[in-house]
Structure formats: structure tokens, C-alpha cells
């Protein structure tokens, strides 16, 4: 069955599941008519180094998809829908086996003025070491992104997605398989679109895999940003940490739901997740639901937690006592809060670049 038929067979998802509780499907569907599979534009994709130079040999962006195996189970609705609408907008980002770059690579996706979507397959070769930033810009209407792929054995990947759409809605689904002894840091920086529905999943199906998922989310005005993260430990000696920081201002809402699954036989698994929400106004709302499903008793640890609160008055006083006025102190504390996860996403060079991108957004934040 093709993706379009599969999607149409599924019907409307139930809001009883966490995935759809806060953001119903029709709210993020391009037209709101969930029985429709619209024909969308293709976004413009370009690959370069962070300093603007051409991407080096060893990393290529090829039009067309590839066959993938061992991907984590994803939500069938969004996966099949994105697959169907991106039938003619498929790309493979291939990093050669053993390729090593100190300079981060930027995959820029210019979403355009009309609704658009694409499917990107990540093919990270064995023992490659690379930092990839996927930067989504433009996008005034609707943008859909399906990312699937495999991180080869022994590879080290810092993979950051920064959403800087001007407005509109972004629908994102990631389904990534992590190879033996591979290390992945996956960062999400989100502050652009009015609505975001994101579902990011990793599967560690081989021994020794490690995944660190980090989020720095800034929501302002009436934004609605909903992120779901799942990490599947399907092999022994696998490690994961999920750390998600959301700062919510205006009358915006952020949602963070996490699921750590440790399957039977994943001995020595070590998994933990924490959601922190900083509430910047009385009307802002933040919901976090961290969940665990642990089917193996011989684990190093499995923990979860969530913390919500406004800006700390004692921290404000400390900064004010050092000469920062109230607005500067508040901005500094928001930036620090987001930086706690941002700084863990990659190298110092990448971090500096991410900070400069986020600072531009903070400057527009209402006092």
C-alpha cells in the first residue's frame, strides 16, 4: 500500500493519546481538511559550511530517497502523510564512511511563501564525525519535514535543527536509527513558526549507542509549540538523556511529551529525561509529560522529571545588583535558561552561531 492510501485508511487520531491531546491533527494539517492530501511546493535546499564556504567532498545532498531499515516506530498519521505529500521532494544527505569535519555543515531549507514539504534521508557513514545544522527559514504558510535515516556504527553526529520560520505552521517527524557505539546529540532550537507539531524518535537497536536530545524552545505572542520525543533502547549498554528547556511568553503555549522505552533484554541501559519550563507571563502555558516504559529490570537507571516556574526573583535581584536593569536582567536570565541546553548541542563554534541566531529572536521579545 502506498503512503497516500495508508494515510487515508487511518482516519482521525484519537485525542486520548498524549501525542494528540494538546494539538489535534486538523489544527496542523495544511488545509484543516484531514481527508485531503494536498499537492505542495518543493522547498529550496542548499548545503554549505557554517562560514558560507562550499560543503567539502564527503558530504553530499542527493535528490531522491533511499531504503532504510530498523527505524523506530513512528506515528503513522504524520509519517504517512508527510511521505505522501513529499513524494516528489525527497533528498538524501549522505556523509561518507570515516568522513571528518571540524567545520559544521549547514543544510538550509528555504520553505518559501507557499505551503511546502520535503523528506530528507540521513545516511551517516560508519565512524564519520560531523556537525549538521538544519536551518528552516522563510515559510509564511505551512512546512512539513520528514527526516528518516541511519547513523552508522561508531559515528559521532551533532544534529541540530533550528526552526526560524517567519510564521505559519511546521509539522516535523524524525525517525532515526542509531548504530553500534554511535553517539548522537540531537538539538532542537525552535522560535519561529506560529504552530509547531514535532515528533522526534530515535532507536538504538545495537549495543553501545548513545543519544542526547536537547531542546531550547522560545515561544512568544500566541505561538503553540508541541514537541514529542521518543527514545527506544532496544539493545544492551545503551545510553540516553533528554533535556528540554522551554521559555514561554505572551499567551503562548508549549507542550513537551517524552517517552523513554527500554525493551526486554536491554541490559545496562541508562535513560533519563527532564523538562524545564520557564513561564514569562501569567497567560503563558507549558505542559510537560515525561513517560517511561521499562521492560528490563537490569538497568543502570531510568529517571524522569519536570519543573515549571517563573523567573527567579533572587536571580533577578542578583543581576540587578550588578547594574542590569529589569529588562536586561530578564533577557539575560531567559538567554541563560535556553543556553543551558543550547551549549550542549555541539562544538563551541556551533554554539556561538546558535547563540547569535537566538539572540536576534530574544531582542524582539516583549518586555
Amino acid at each position: 500500500m502506498d503512503s497516500a492510501s495508508k494515510y487515508l485508511d487511518l482516519g482521525e487520531p484519537s485525542r486520548s493519546s498524549h501525542l494528540w491531546k494538546y494539538t489535534p491533527w486538523k489544527r496542523v494539517h495544511p488545509s484543516g481538511n484531514i481527508g485531503e492530501i494536498p499537492k505542495l511546493s518543493k522547498p529550496k535546499l542548499s548545503l554549505s559550511l557554517l562560514d558560507g564556504d562550499d560543503a567539502p567532498d564527503g558530504i553530499t545532498l542527493i535528490e531522491g530517497g533511499k531504503n532504510e531499515v530498523d527505524l523506530p516506530d513512528t506515528d503513522e498519521i504524520t509519517h504517512s502523510f508527510l511521505e505522501a505529500i513529499s513524494e516528489n521532494s525527497k533528498w538524501t544527505l549522505k556523509v561518507d564512511k570515516g568522513f571528518h569535519s571540524e567545520n559544521p555543515v549547514v543544510l538550509e531549507i528555504e520553505a518559501g511563501d507557499e505551503a511546502s514539504s520535503c523528506h530528507i534521508s540521513l545516511d551517516i557513514g560508519e565512524s564519520a564525525e560531523i556537525e549538521i545544522v538544519t536551518k528552516v527559514t522563510g515559510g509564511k504558510d505551512w512546512f512539513g519535514l520528514l527526516r528518516t535515516g541511519e547513523v552508522g556504527s561508531g559515528a559521532i553526529l551533532n544534529d541540530v535543527l533550528i526552526g526560524l520560520m517567519e510564521r505559519g505552521t511546521m509539522l516535523r517527524t524524525d525517525s532515526i536509527s542509531v548504530g553500534r557505539d554511535a553517539h548522537v546529540r540531537a538539538g532542537t532550537v525552535s522560535s519561529g513558526s506560529e504552530k509547531t507539531k514535532s515528533d522526534v524518535r530515535f532507536r538504538m537497536g545495537q549495543i553501545g549507542g548513545s543519544v542526547r536530545v536537547l531542546g531550547s524552545i522560545l515561544s512568544t505572542e500566541s505561538m503553540h509549540l508541541d514537541h514529542h520525543i521518543e527514545i527506544h533502547h532496544d539493545s544492551p549498554q545503551t545510553f540516553s538523556r533528554l533535556s528540554w528547556h522551554s521559555a514561554c511568553g505572551g499567551d503562548s503555549r508549549t507542550v513537551g511529551t517524552g517517552m523513554l522505552r527500554v525493551s526486554d533484554g536491554s541490559k545496562g541501559a541508562d535513560a533519563a529525561q527532564i523538562f524545564h519550563n520557564l513561564l514569562l507571563s501569567e497567560k503563558a502555558e507549558a505542559d510537560s509529560i515525561p513517560e517511561l516504559e521499562v521492560m528490563e529490570h537490569d538497568v543502570v537507571g531510568c529517571g524522569h522529571g519536570t519543573a515549571n516556574g517563573p523567573i527567579d526573583e533572587q536571580q533577578m535581584f542578583y543581576l540587578e545588583a550588578r547594574g542590569l536593569n529589569k529588562q536586561e536582567a530578564k533577557r539575560t536570565l531567559i538567554a541563560a535558561f535556553l543556553n543551558s541546553t543550547l551549549s550542549e548541542m555541539g562544538s563551541e563554534r556551533l554554539h556561538e552561531w546558535l547563540v547569535s541566531e537566538l539572540t536576534k529572536k530574544l531582542e524582539t521579545l516583549e518586555s
Binding site: D312, Q315, E320, A329, A336, S340
Partner: protein
């Protein structure tokens, strides 16, 4: 014409949550002077420091606090800092995500102006101050007070004092939790920042040890929200030997 006092506190009454803590304090510090306040726990020492800095939780019921003749009481904490008031916190706040180097630049820029926070001049004075306090270079990339030991926190407060060059430094138990070497290092930092300048300092402490290194011009004893004794360095020695009971009897 006599110079204005650097700090003049008159009949100061203040408290928190409807509890009066300071019950009429008078204190005058002239330019170049270092004073110390000693007292038992709960006597009002930290309240005095917070009221001078403008902590919003504390309410001034009566009295006046003047810096070089200008009232501080109507000013926000950040305005007081820009007027030249510095508080070394008893429990400095940690700010995860905010790097020390970045924080110092912001703070110096806010108080002393943008030009003072950039270029070789800033780097040199930062390097010199860090060396004098035995603070390694790697400190700059750590987050403000996050995971710092007690001694590191206090040395970081003094580093800020040295860079911000305030008119008035209030040190709230900066010596507590420090070993002998740490106390000496902090005291040297205070002396370097205040002695030989027109600035002044108010050191709040439980112990006489830091005062042996700083040698204050005057010592005041605070008891139940009032200054009950003032004197020279010999007062600290007497308190060390006899405690505070004899003051109650007087």
C-alpha cells in the same frame, strides 16, 4: 567645607513581611573608610545589607540612606548599583547557562560604561584581578556560581568588586565558609579595591579574623536591630574574648 559622608544612614527602620528588624540605625562612613558590623545571628546584619542595596522584599518603615548626600531609598537596585553601591552576597545566586566572562562584561558595561567592558584595558584588569585572587582562566567559561565551592563563590564576589570599582562596597559575611588562606586572599582583594581610594566599605561579619587583615576604621555591634556599641579594632578583640553578653548587661 567638610566633604559629604560617603554613606549616611539615619534612624533607619526596616523589616520584612510586617516584621520589624532594624529599629533605628545611625551610621556614617566617610570616603576612604572601612567599617565593620558585627552581631549575632538574627541581629539585622543581612537586613542592613539588603536595605542598602534595595532588595524588593524589604520594606523601609522610616529613616534615610544617603550616598554622597543623595537618597538611595527611591532607587531600584540596578540604579543603586549604577550610582556606585555594591553588595557582596552572603549566598550568591547561581545562574546556570550564563557564562562568567559574559556576565562580567555585561555588569562592567552597565555600571562603568561600554568602553570599560571591552578591549585590552578590560582584559588586562580582568587578568590582573583574577591572578591576585588565584582564580584560573578556565573560570570565565563556567556558569555564574553554578557548581562553585563556597570559597570560589566568595572569591568571585571579590573579583566583581575589583572590576566594578564601586563607591561603597557592602560585604555580607564574605568571610564565612573560607579557610585562613581564603580569608587572607579576600581581605587583600578588599584592601586593593578600597584602600587609597575615595571609596568605602561596610564589612558584615561574625568573626574578627578578616578584620585582622582589613583593619577597619570603626566597628559597630548590632543587637536586636540597633547599634549598641561602636569603637576601634579593640572592640573586635573584646567581642572575640567575651562574646556579646557583656553588651546586654551594659
Amino acid at each position: 567645607m567638610a566633604t559629604l559622608p560617603l554613606l549616611k544612614i539615619s534612624s533607619l527602620r526596616a523589616g520584612i513581611d510586617d516584621n520589624s528588624i532594624l529599629k533605628g540605625i545611625d551610621l556614617e562612613i566617610r570616603p576612604g573608610e572601612i567599617h565593620a558590623i558585627m552581631g549575632r545571628n538574627g541581629s539585622g546584619k543581612t537586613t542592613t545589607a539588603n536595605v542598602i542595596m534595595g532588595h524588593p522584599d524589604f520594606e523601609v518603615e522610616d529613616g534615610e540612606v544617603l550616598l554622597e548626600g543623595k537618597s538611595l531609598l527611591e532607587l531600584e537596585a540596578w540604579e543603586r548599583a549604577r550610582q556606585g553601591v555594591f553588595l557582596s552576597f552572603q549566598y550568591p545566586q547561581s545562574v546556570p547557562g550564563l557564562q562568567v566572562g559574559n556576565f562580567l562584561r555585561k555588569s562592567v558595561s552597565s555600571i562603568r560604561g561600554e568602553d570599560e567592558a571591552k578591549g585590552a584595558g578590560f582584559r588586562d584588569s580582568l587578568k590582573q584581578a583574577m591572578e591576585s585572587l588565584d582564580i584560573p582562566r578556565s573560570f570565565l567559561s563556567r556558569y555564574v556560581n553554578d557548581g562553585f565551592s563556597g570559597g570560589e563563590k566568595k572569591r568571585f564576589e571579590i573579583l566583581q568588586l575589583m572590576l566594578l570599582k564601586p563607591k561603597l562596597a557592602v560585604l555580607d559575611e564574605t568571610d564565612s565558609g573560607l579557610d585562613i588562606d581564603g580569608i587572607r586572599t579576600v581581605a587583600e582583594g578588599v584592601n586593593a579595591a578600597i584602600r587609597g581610594t575615595n571609596s568605602g566599605a561596610l564589612i558584615i561579619t561574625h568573626y574578627s579574623r578578616i578584620l585582622e587583615h582589613v583593619m577597619p576604621d570603626k566597628i559597630h555591634v548590632l543587637m536586636d536591630g540597633k547599634i549598641v556599641a561602636s569603637g576601634g579594632p579593640e572592640l573586635a578583640t573584646k567581642l572575640e574574648e567575651h562574646g556579646y553578653e557583656w553588651l546586654k548587661e551594659d
